[in-house]
Symmetry: C2
Subunit: 357 residues, 2 copies
């Protein structure tokens, strides 16, 4: 008997999924439950790799679509089990994972089971380790090891986007910029050379930086360049010999990762710059015919996705991909994470309409 | 039987003292050994408070001098027991405490025992907890609780000064300067307000600051204003809402502590400034007749002391005080801490000459 009850609404199914704790690296139970639920579906071909599950229809349709969501969450902070609550007349499901992104996973799971004859072939994916390092990411693992399994004409990633379509994503670069000096006792500071003082022009440049707004395939992406950390100092009586400014550059998907690196070196070339994280963005891909049809079916206006998401992995495989899922991304990872119930229903309705039109 | 052998030279006695570990808060053994050594001296009146020991002559001399040294060290880093070594033809005693400041303590201990009839009355002080917080400082405790015990016309603090006289000391102020902003996800940085960027003008001001050189009682004190630490940042994807610059201001002894605070507020008045440490400097006091005689007896030219030392505590009691002790202060706290043997002998000779002239 399946551990999950699929006869209920996608709202109640979201709650069932959220009440199975699945912080990154602890996804086995929820993956097993999803597997058990899908096992009885004759219309699906199942595959499992680690705690990632792939379920494919093989109906010989002209087009194939990937619909994917991650099953892990950031750490629980006293916000599981979930509860229903109403705030200012809006009904919510409150708790860890409700937004990021078990509501999306529930909608996908319900549709995977119910849509035995969709009008496109579908490759459903539920994957692990999205909330941790790139090296562990389950979708990354599948794209590296089984790229043919993800072959498709279009992909939908069920990242929270208020159940509207958010195309592509900005690229993401982090770098450490270091200044150096010479230690001395601060009572004789003229013997030393203060590395923290040397960071002044770096901060001034960041403060004065005017971030671009770049139109890509009809969507306007807003960039950002910021210090996200700074550290330096040895002791209260020592002139510091090193200072590190940790910067984060979010760049439009029309700029390649290499171009982003070059831009940072152009700005801070006189310093010691170490790139510590680099992920290319993803163009929105809304010019693809399937994307246009999808957009029309679910309604509303497409917006750019500012944050980096796994859509870039599909983009890297040459597959146009968009974000589309229930929940306000501003509530992702928040201690008061909560999803408006109406968004879950709306997302299910949108997907169902498109897949059965 | 005394634990220390006082029949040897002040050099060998330094070694004995250094080989008794006495990192701050662990001074009991060395204090007990010093007490046991002094207990048999009929010419000394002894007093103990915690691990501070006071030994006074009461010869009815016209003048009284305090000669003080601290018996604690900074943590040992594989540099005890000590060893003798010769570098470039100079003989050294190597190891923790050799400079800061057991060579000075040894000279004082040897003279305390041997000089039964000095030409001034002497109050010898060996004290604890100099290397840690002001609140624990043994000399600070004595000045607060037994100020009459330290009453005198002149004080010599055996801080390492290459066995030359260093007058007074600069004042010392540390402050935390904070900037504030608003957190947001760094993918939507325009929603936030970057506190680290706001620190740019603070660092620029510090970098451009021209420190004064101020003549006080004939000695030129060099000031310094420096960042000694900086911190800020929440995570690699969060716009930081706070940044803290930790500054250290070393100010000439002609400037009062209140004036130093006012100067910092004048410079950084627009920011949130918290004074976290404040110690007034000490004027060199070399115009005092006893100081002049002392200077003449030990020879050489007096220099200003840049670092803050406990001479300021005597200064606070209205007692002129100088630093005079063996060892290069640049080697204090260093892992290769070492004292030139010749400086120990020179210091002993200088003090002995003055006290018996």
């Amino acid at each position: 008997m399946p551990a999950l009850d699929l006869t209920v609404s996608s709202i109640d199914l979201t709650r069932q999924l959220c009440d199975i704790p699945s912080v990154s690296a602890d996804e086995k139970r929820i993956a097993d439950d999803i597997w058990a639920t899908l096992e009885g579906c004759d219309h699906l071909e199942l595959f499992q790799d680690g705690d990632a599950i792939v379920a494919k229809t093989n109906l010989g349709r002209a087009k194939r679509v990937v619909i994917a969501g991650h099953i892990d969450t950031v750490p629980i902070n006293d916000n599981v089990p979930t509860r229903y609550e109403t705030i200012d007349g809006v009904d919510y499901l409150w708790g860890r994972g409700t937004v990021d992104m078990k509501a999306g996973c529930a909608v996908a799971l319900k549709l995977a089971v119910e849509l035995t004859e969709p009008n496109v072939d579908i490759t459903w994916v539920w994957y692990d380790h999205e909330e941790v390092s790139d090296a562990l990411n389950g979708l990354g693992r599948l794209t590296r090891e089984y790229p043919e399994m993800l072959a498709s004409d279009f992909a939908i990633l069920m990242e929270p986007s208020n159940s509207s379509v958010e195309g592509g994503c900005n690229g993401n670069l982090r770098a450490e910029i270091r200044t150096y000096g010479l230690r001395s006792h601060s009572a004789r500071s003229w013997i030393g050379d203060n590395a923290i003082h040397k960071a002044a022009p770096i901060l001034a440049k960041l403060a004065a930086y005017e971030a671009r707004q770049v139109e890509v395939d009809g969507l306007v992406y807003r960039e950002g360049l910021n210090a996200v950390g700074i550290s330096g100092g040895v002791a209260g009586n020592v002139i510091p010999d090193e200072c590190m400014v940790h910067i984060n550059y979010r760049f439009a998907p029309s700029r390649s990762a290499d171009e982003a690196v070059a831009h940072i070196h152009e700005l801070f070339g006189e310093y010691d710059v170490t790139i510590v994280d680099l992920a290319q963005g993803a163009r929105p891909g809304l010019d693809a015919p399937l994307a246009q049809e999808f957009l029309k079916a679910v309604g509303g206006e497409a917006k750019p996705k500012y944050g980096w998401t796994d859509v870039a992995r599909f983009s890297g495989l040459g597959i146009p991909a968009v974000n589309y899922g229930p929940g306000d991304p501003m509530k992702a990872h928040a201690d008061d994470e909560r999803v408006a119930l109406e968004q879950i229903t709306e997302c299910e309705r949108g997907l169902r309409a498109w897949l059965t039109a």
